[in-house]
Subunit: 186 residues, 2 copies
DNA sequence: CTGCCCATGTAAATGGTTACATGATTGA
DNA sequence: TCAATCATGTAACCATTTACATGGGCAG
């Protein structure tokens, strides 16, 4: 599992609470990994049992108390070992492509609607990436090399989504010639 | 879940066994959805209970008996309703990007190794896509439009992986200037 | 006689989503 | 007074992976 290692990676910079980590997954981290608070709390609990992190209870008066997690030496070891291992291509689970490949069951108009809807979502995603882009990577990076790496990560997302946008447009253009024709003769 | 609907999609063409479906997921279907035989058998069982498919036992002498699954009217209904629903952008779970974003913990040389390994895997994946490309889509498509849709699905995969290849090369070039430098001063 | 193809499955663990649940403080 | 933010979590379910398990036929 990578969620464990992603969490270790962040705890390796500063101690953080489950809530802090959840917020990070809502903001920047989701560019390469997604997780909900449920999952984060559960994973932190496991990691505590495995001795990868330690818990510090922080009492607060104006806000609810919180639990800060600190990475341990075991945790750092685990993190470094995992980081150096090669990574596989992520498994593909692309609902739109499933629908396209079964598209003989749909009108051309419906297929176009699916593509246009997906196009809108891609556009929204790209807007999100662009906005954060310059700010976060420039401000918080601890070195020139880290800034470069963070930019590269964003670059990956942007390039892939832009490629999909172009693919959508290409596919929409190609579909034009099927408009109006009935749902193919059997 | 889309596995259910993917299976319905194929059973909508011809009756198939769990084994047949597993083979398809090992060959073409994995271009947009991945699944193991464990999952396929279990999902078929559920679908049977939900009345989306029916089972036909086929006795064979030279080979083990098999169970052919036929789609029902309920199944066809479910499939069509699902197909017309808009699809979301798949959640991102990209291990290489996690590693890159935590890359401050690694030597530049190790990061380069990770990228080069990923590059090789991308190349292999692309070879796979290209080989099947012309054959399958041309031979089995039941209409010009279906052929177009299948090509579009492959086109999506190829474009995205080629984009990642270019991204890798760009990133490798950019990393050159960090080679040799120690793992940044704290 | 070794290993692959046919064909089915179960068990156990891990991973992920959705809904439920609480309760104080702060700002519009 | 309404909604959002802070901060924690549980319960139930759904999805996925890995390993275990069986056993005949066929080709090299």
């Amino acid at each position: 599992m990578s969620l464990k290692h992603t969490l270790l990676g962040f705890l390796n910079m500063w101690p953080l609470s489950g809530y802090d980590l959840t917020k990070m997954f809502g903001a920047t981290v989701r560019f390469y990994w997604s997780a909900t608070h449920t999952q984060i709390y559960r994973t932190l609990k496991q990691m505590l049992q495995e001795g990868l992190v330690e818990q510090e209870l922080v009492r607060q008066t104006d806000y609810p108390n919180k639990k800060l997690y600190h990475i341990t030496d075991r945790g750092r070891e685990e993190l470094l070992a995992w980081l150096a291992e090669p990574a596989d291509i992520p498994p593909v689970r692309h609902r739109l492509l499933v629908k396209m490949s079964l598209g003989e069951e749909l009108d051309t108009e419906t297929i176009i609607r699916l593509l246009e809807d997906y196009r809108k979502k891609l556009q929204q995603r790209l807007d999100l990436y662009d906005k954060r882009n310059k700010q976060i990577t420039q401000e918080y990076a601890r070195s020139e090399r880290e800034r470069f790496l963070w930019d590269a990560v964003l670059d990956n997302g942007i390039s892939v989504y832009e490629t999909e946008l172009e693919w959508i447009d290409r596919t929409l253009r190609g579909l034009q010639r099927f408009i109006g024709r009935a749902r193919e003769e059997k």
